[in-house]
């Protein structure tokens, strides 16, 4: 019996790897296990080699492992590719006849997926269902959970299809149980909890919906497209207009236009699309119009690795857009943070009338964890506009009225009687074009100094763990939260702590200085080659890190990788 298991489904794009993986994740969640699941896929529609990996345990997990215990190989290539990443005692489940494998290796568990599928329903399609049953058979988890999820998945396909799929799953399950009675992990006590199995993209979309986003526009770009899909899926239910833009420039400008008209708006993209949006970030800063943009990073430069992960756009997001203006940049580390910080992003964008960026990456976007349902009481909408009721009394309205806070009352066009003038040229308080030097100074101070001062007072506090008299402190931002957390808890040989920033701008300089006071050995853990976060820390606090664990091969950090490097 093991305390945790890693299960991998490997095969070609188009073989339904994600479908099997998600079904298994749901089955094990139903049985009461905690789940961490992530995906490794190539930029192609068919072929190649992809895998979906599920880690299950009786305790909560935040990252994945390097080695697998049970691997389902849906094609020949997957056998060779995944044999090396198999734990001692691990098995590869495969259909030898169908994948043309003749070698005898005790790690290979030959299961006639194809024949079992044909017998159950007469169709090749059921291979995935058979393999689900087989995997669950390997673990010792009762079949009832499989049946429940299979029924749910095919619930709108009619009783005949449901029956055939249940039979297919049962065939796979029993084939395994008859040959291997071993239970590989203890069942959790208490059974399934009402948790959500969700990924980072879905959490951002739900955050946007909760925040009252009513206009979402984007140009599809991996790995951000999941947000667009989710917004489109919920559009009708929540009265949201979702529009696919002709390009990212249109997307960001449309969002700003809708926001000017008084509607919470958002767009999302990845680095390449964000490069096109740079002019819009600057525009939002200048016209002081709220804008929320999620940048779901992938390896760059240029097209890079379209379906893989990296954290190399940190510097870019901090500096994108010509000129000087205030912004906030959040870097959620978990699915929960992705949700709550998206709600906050809308509130802060509204309050300060600025662009707010949510920096995610493919790893966070496509990884699933079982999480407690969001507490909507902690995700409240705070609007900072002149309400419709108050609009009638507005006279001599000045869109860019100078105030101590740098924030001017934001009125909605047509709600007030006065016109709302808004300009990307330097402008007067009334919003008209000017070249007056003293007005220019006042407006730059308003947009940069005053707003940043306000923003600095509401920076997300970094999360820290085990840092008191630690032998080493890991620091990072974004999706490395999970791996730093588990490494801190797991590392032997000296005390390891970690600090995670879920907001990188304004930088939590005071908090970081306090937390790192007297630190002996600071190591930055980043998914980039330039140690950008370490340099940001140095610039904003004067603190130098002692070393960096950097990964830039396009793959996410896993617990074993990080521990080996430390």
């Amino acid at each position: 019996m093991r305390e945790e298991l890693t299960i991998r489904i490997a095969g070609e794009a188009g073989q339904g790897i994600e479908t099997v993986g998600m079904a298994l994740a749901r089955i094990f969640k139903k049985a009461g296990f905690h789940i961490f699941a992530n995906q490794d896929y190539m930029s192609r529609i068919r072929g190649g080699n992809n895998f979906f990996q599920i880690r299950i345990a009786n305790r909560e997990m935040f990252t994945h492992r390097l080695m697998s215990d049970i691997t389902v190989a849906l094609n020949k290539k997957s056998v060779a590719l995944h044999k090396e990443a198999l734990h001692k005692g691990g098995s590869i489940l495969l259909d030898k006849a169908k994948s043309g494998i003749t070698e005898n290796d005790t790690r290979l568990f030959d299961i006639p997926f194809h024949d079992l599928a044909v017998r159950a329903g007469g169709k090749d399609l059921f291979i995935n269902t058979v393999s689900c049953g087989a995997v669950v058979g390997m673990t010792g988890t009762p079949f009832t959970y499989v049946e429940e999820i299979v029924r749910d998945i095919f619930s709108n396909k009619g009783e005949e299809i449901i029956k055939q799929n249940v039979a297919a799953a049962k065939a796979g399950f029993e084939f395994v149980r008859e040959r291997s009675k071993k239970d590989r992990i203890a069942l959790p006590a208490g059974g399934g909890r009402r948790t959500l199995l969700m990924n980072g993209n879905e959490a951002i979309a739900l955050g946007a919906i909760r925040a009252g986003c009513k206009f979402y526009t984007a140009y599809p770009m991996t790995p951000s497209t999941g947000i667009l899909n989710a917004m489109a899926h919920y559009a009708k239910r929540f009265g949201i207009v979702v529009e696919q833009a002709e390009d990212e420039i249109a997307a960001v400008n449309m969002a700003i236009g809708a926001s000017y008209a008084g509607v919470r708006s958002m767009t999302a993209t990845s680095g390449g699309g964000f490069a096109l949006m740079a002019e819009g970030i600057s525009l939002a800063g200048m016209v002081e119009t709220p804008l929320v943009v999620a940048c779901v990073q992938r390896p760059a430069p240029a097209t890079g690795f379209p379906t893989r992960t990296e954290q190399a756009d940190l510097d870019f997001l901090l500096h994108s857009g010509h000129g000087e203006f205030s912004r906030a940049v959040y870097s959620p580390g978990t699915i929960e943070e992705a949700f709550y910080l998206t709600v906050k992003a809308f509130n802060i964008a509204d309050k300060y009338q600025i662009p707010v960026l949510i920096m995610s990456d493919q790893h966070l976007a496509d990884s699933y964890r079982d999480i407690e349902p969001f507490d909507t009481a902690k995700a409240r909408v705070e609007r900072y506009i002149v309400s419709k009721e108050d609009s009638g009394a507005v006279k001599n309205y000045k869109r860019y009225q100078l105030t101590d806070s740098g924030i001017s009352p934001r009125a909605v066009p047509s709600w007030i009687d006065d016109p709302v003038y808004c300009d990307s040229d330097e402008h007067t308080e009334e919003g008209h074009i000017t070249e007056d030097a003293s007005t220019r100074i006042a407006m730059v101070e308003k947009r940069l100094y005053k707003k940043t001062a306000g923003l600095s007072g509401e920076v997300e506090k970094p999360a820290s763990y085990n840092i008191d008299r630690a032998d080493r402190i890991l620091i990072g931002f974004g999706s490395t939260y999970g791996v730093m957390k588990e490494a801190s808890e797991t590392m032997k040989g000296g005390k390891t702590g970690f600090i995670h920033c879920s907001q990188v701008w304004p930088f939590p300089a005071r908090e970081m200085t306090r937390l790192l006071k007297g630190a002996k050995n600071i190591l930055t853990v980043e998914g980039n080659a330039g140690a950008q976060f370490g340099r940001l820390l140095k610039r904003e606090t004067g603190i130098s890190v002692n070393g960096a664990v950097l990964r830039f091969d396009g793959r996410p950090f896993d617990l074993d990788y990080l521990m080996e490097k430390l």
């Binding site: 948790t195 206009f215 009265g239 000017y260």
Partner: protein, 285 residues
């Protein structure tokens, strides 16, 4: 409403005699005729001389980036469908820098009116060729004269299925006023390309040059703007005679109608205070 209701106190930065004045006056007259209240009108522009126009009218104004007049205009229209959204853009802004948005917003067919101040030259950057410059036009950049074929915006718009395609002349104020009134009334993307002499940088396509050539469609002989093939012919006519008027008109469902936005209350009026997402959680159990 009267023209004076749209009077702005902002100082006008155009050259004396600029063709833009004719467009400004026609637009104010059209808004008065349409009985729009200044607070219900939104003028959106990009960058260029045309883009300054919204400041010279008392109404809401979003003056964004070069080439990007159309995206925020559509965003604002979808956010608040009660706004009358009019774009004032130029040949460089709309057909050059913003060409992609022009093509796709014709397809999108949101209910906006687009007035293109087409002077066939880049005024604000001091006289370079624009996408609609006549071949041979000499300036400091195209020193041997323009060698590129001109873009044909009206033919393009007709080919893309634009439901309202018109050409005006800034010196024909009453005619232009009428085109704008019709354009705003048209439900969908309306394109009004306006011949607008640049008195400083375009010494060829002057008031006199146009006055000799311009004639009104339907005057003298009948013209049916519903006929797509004659619309193509008229849109392509350029030389000794240049037609102005509504070239093509074809009422069809707008974006707001097809997407269902028009059946909802304006998005901006929705209460977003406490949106209940608990029902969604079930999909993730």
């Amino acid at each position: 409403m009267n023209v004076v209701d749209f009077k702005s106190n902002d100082e006008i930065a155009w050259c004396p005699g600029c063709g833009d004045f004719g467009i400004l006056n026609a637009l104010k007259k059209a808004l008065a005729l349409l009985d729009k209240k200044p607070k219900d009108v939104l003028l959106v522009s990009g960058i260029g001389q045309a883009a300054k126009l919204p400041h010279y009218i008392k109404s809401n104004c979003f003056n964004g980036l070069h080439g990007r007049a159309l995206p925020p205009a559509v965003g604002a229209k979808l956010a608040n469908r009660n706004l009358t959204v009019i774009v004032t853009t130029g040949d460089g802004d709309c057909y050059g820098e913003g060409g992609n948005h022009f093509m796709h917003n014709v397809r999108r067919n949101a209910d906006i009116t687009v007035i293109v101040h087409d002077n066939q030259v880049y005024g604000l950057t001091k006289g370079q060729a624009s996408p609609t410059s006549d071949p041979g036009f000499e300036n400091k950049v195209q020193v041997g004269g323009v060698i590129l074929e001109p873009l044909h915006p009206l033919e393009m718009a007709i080919a893309l299925g634009c439901g309202f395609v018109a050409r005006g002349f800034s010196a024909e104020s009453e005619h232009l006023t009428n085109l704008i009134v019709e354009g705003v009334r048209h439900k969908g993307f309306s394109l009004i390309d306006v011949l607008q002499p640049c008195v400083t940088f375009n010494k060829k396509n002057t008031y006199e040059w146009y006055a000799k050539r311009v004639y009104k469609l339907g005057e003298g002989s009948p013209y049916d703007p519903a006929d797509k093939m004659s619309a193509y012919q008229k849109a392509a006519e350029w030389g000794d005679r240049i037609p102005i008027g509504i070239m093509y008109r074809n009422e069809k469902a707008s974006y707001g109608e097809k997407s269902g936005v028009d059946t909802l209350p304006p998005l901006v009026d929705g209460d977003i205070g406490d949106i209940d997402i608990h029902d969604v959680f079930k999909e993730y159990f």
